[in-house]
């Protein structure tokens, strides 16, 4: 069935709710309204108000409640309306969700999936464009997943909901309706913790995820015209990271560029560069480069294009790497 990413997410939720009556969805506006991006559209009518719950406007309570629901056997899927509003729930995520399994030596776990739209590119208002995935990747116990296509979104969300570990599922708003794909109607899982080589190449590896994938593709196509063969790795699960796929690719190409829309300092690019340094140093023909957002506050919508890495910046970096 041909669908957008947001429709694929909707179908993943419906599929998992049909499979398992322990799966419940809740958050602000997820019920009658179907979510501000319509990700939960129709679920309220299909599964009823007990499983698709509109909640008070309180992010910490949403995540805290999810922990308690999981303790009593449910598979909660809370939605935080935008990543920029997840911070009130940070205490619950860091102090409880991530460590519950460890601090109870496995007696209690938090098999919940926190969905949240994230990232720039839709000309939203302030606090709606941040990309702070690195916060969560820094916390042991969390799994951080970012899809970049409708097909991936459906399979990765299903896998996240079925996972016995807590998942922060980041949905790139820019990609919600950017592309349509033929997505299988029956439920399926795509493996977590596995990056995908989505374009094979010989000269250079780009590591990216989410909304940076189309940017990477565009730059790779342009580079190809100039005779540079670019491989693209879509990380898909940011943490725990599939380092093996990155290292194997860089060992082949000898050049690496990390592309992310989050600020540079302490961004995930640093971790990826360190990984390559530790495991593929002697394959490198040039230093690992990063194309990222600058270390500034995300500008408001009129200047968003200045902030967000585009194909031109990636192409420049590719040229620099090739000429190094």
């Amino acid at each position: 069935m041909i669908m957008t990413m947001v429709q694929a997410i909707n179908r993943a939720l419906a599929g998992e709710m049909e499979r398992d009556d322990k799966v419940v969805v809740f958050g602000e506006d997820v019920g009658r309204d179907g979510g501000v991006f319509r990700a939960t559209e129709g679920l309220f009518d299909e599964f009823g108000p007990e499983r698709v719950m509109d909640t008070p406007l309180a992010e910490s309570a949403a995540v805290g409640a999810a922990i308690g629901m999981a303790a009593l056997g449910l598979r909660p899927v809370p939605e935080i309306q935008f990543m920029g509003f997840i911070y009130p729930a940070f205490n619950q995520i860091v102090s409880h969700v991530a460590r519950l399994r460890n601090r109870t030596r496995g007696r209690f776990t938090a098999p919940l999936t926190i969905r949240t739209p994230y990232g720039a590119g839709i000309k939203a208002l302030e606090h709606h464009s941040e990309s702070t995935e690195a916060f969560f990747c820094h916390i042991p116990g969390l799994t951080v997943v970012v899809p970049s296509s409708p097909t991936d979104a459906k399979g990765l969300l299903a896998a996240s909901i079925r996972s016995d570990d807590p998942v922060i599922f980041l949905e790139p708003t820019k990609l919600y309706r950017a592309e349509k794909q033929d997505v299988p109607e029956t439920p399926y899982e795509l493996p977590l913790r596995q990056a995908a080589v989505i374009r094979e190449g010989r000269d250079l590896t780009i590591v990216a995820w989410g909304a940076m994938i189309p940017v990477a593709r565009e730059a790779a196509t342009a580079a190809e015209a100039g005779g540079v063969s670019v491989e693209i790795i879509d990380l898909r699960t940011l943490s725990p990271m599939d380092r093996g796929t990155i290292v194997a690719s860089v060992q082949k190409t000898g050049r690496a560029l990390v592309l992310h829309e989050a600020p540079k300092t302490c961004g995930l690019g640093a971790e990826i560069a360190a990984t390559i340094g530790e495991s593929a140093l002697l394959s490198l023909k040039a230093p690992v480069m990063r194309v990222t957002a600058p270390d500034i506050t995300v500008p408001l919508l009129k200047s968003e294009d200045l902030y967000y890495p585009g194909p031109e910046r990636v192409l420049r970096a590719i040229r620099n790497l090739m000429e190094y």
Binding site: T55, P56, G64, G68, L72, R101, N102, T104
Partner: protein, 359 residues
């Protein structure tokens, strides 16, 4: 009974006065067995608490939050619970843990610095001690939502301190509970201090119980040093919760007789006079007098109870101390359901750097 005590009118439920006299018409007339069990649990809690303090001073236990003075609140609320109910504690709940059947050796083991002590034995519905203040409240509410969804007919209890009522999670959690009409009972141990900050600095409200009214459900203030009052209020609130009547907030008005933790010195911020006044309201002394009036207490019984408590404490300490320290595998194994390769590599690297005996 709860509705007869309106916090907005400054009314507080108290059954036993300081001389152990039951107020006419309020005595729940519990069975002799249950009365003695309440007393024995309180004695155990006090003995176990005193021992923990000693162990801390001797370097055998880490920083510890003492429960002395809270026994009536802790034992009273937990005794009202049934085995199917769930408990989401805060960090000063020793008497409740004992009453609910949590092994004292495990409790000590946690405070001695091993997560294995937080592994609630199978069959007990006790969530782990929550240290970030008030964070357990939304969790208990979520459990309440799940209990309702699964039609379990159970109640979910959360405890908290007076300081917790200032936290966002208190408001968010109780607000959720009101909206979802969850089967929750929140028991706020108002012990007058959040470390050094007095109750008057937490809220300008005359009582903490009255906060429930704004969330759309009842709140009641009870004498937290009166085990019968705490028991009766909790019993009633649990019955309401289990039968779909929604949540209740109980404010147990008590006093923290000890320091906040072993790292605190309460003499810096409160007077001896004040502490002495509260010593006269001691929950055990009061209940002992009540039992005496009923012919359920004498010196011989006291000796027996004290000896049994001491025996439990000593055995539990020995058991906790005999357990092996956490291994490298233990501290890595529970981060994820299945450790990723990186984590296994980090574990192996750490092991390789350690002497044989510490791996």
């Amino acid at each position: 009974m709860i509705e007869r005590f309106d916090p907005l009118k400054g009314e507080r439920l108290r059954i036993l006065d300081e001389d152990g006299q039951a107020a006419p018409g309020l005595d729940p007339n519990l069975s002799n067995d249950l009365l003695r069990t309440l007393y024995e649990r309180m004695v155990q809690a006090r003995a176990a608490d005193a021992k923990a303090l000693k162990l801390q001073r001797q370097g055998r236990l880490g920083t510890y939050a003492p429960s002395v003075g809270h026994e009536a609140s802790q034992v009273g609320l937990a005794s009202a619970m049934s085995r199917d109910d769930w408990f989401f504690p805060y960090f000063r709940d020793l008497g409740a843990f004992l009453t609910l059947g949590y092994p004292l050796a495990d409790y000590y083991h946690f405070w001695m610095g091993n997560e294995a002590g937080l592994r609630t034995p199978d069959g007990l519905n006790i969530f782990p001690i929550s240290i970030p203040v008030a964070s357990q409240i939304p969790q208990a509410v979520g459990a309440g939502i799940a209990a309702k969804y699964r039609k379990l007919g159970i109640a979910v209890v959360a405890t908290l301190g007076d300081g917790a009522t200032s936290e966002g999670d208190f408001h968010e959690g109780l607000n959720y509970a009101g909206v979802f009409r969850t089967p929750n009972v929140f028991v706020c141990m108002n012990n007058q201090f959040a470390i050094s900050v007095p109750r008057s600095r937490q809220s300008a409200a005359a009582t903490l119980a009255q906060k429930a009214i704004a969330y759309g459900f009842p709140g009641v203030q009870v004498d937290g040093n009166d085990v019968l009052a705490v028991f009766a209020a909790t019993w009633e609130a649990l019955a309401v919760a289990r039968s779909g009547g929604g949540p209740t907030l109980i404010e147990a008005y008590t006093y923290r007789m000890g320091d906040h933790t072993t790292s605190d010195d309460a003499a810096r911020y409160r007077t001896k006079d004040e502490v002495q006044q509260w010593e006269r309201r001691d929950p055990l002394a009061r209940f002992r007098l009540y039992l005496g009036r009923k012919g359920l207490w004498d010196e011989a019984y006291e000796k027996e109870v004290q000896a049994a408590a001491s025996d439990l404490v000593e055995k539990s300490v020995a058991e906790a101390e005999a357990r092996p320290p956490a291994s490298v595998d233990d501290i890595f194994a529970y981060t994820y359901a299945e450790a990723p390769p990186d984590l296994k590599a980090q574990r192996d690297e750490l092991k390789a750097s350690l002497p044989e005996g510490r791996r």
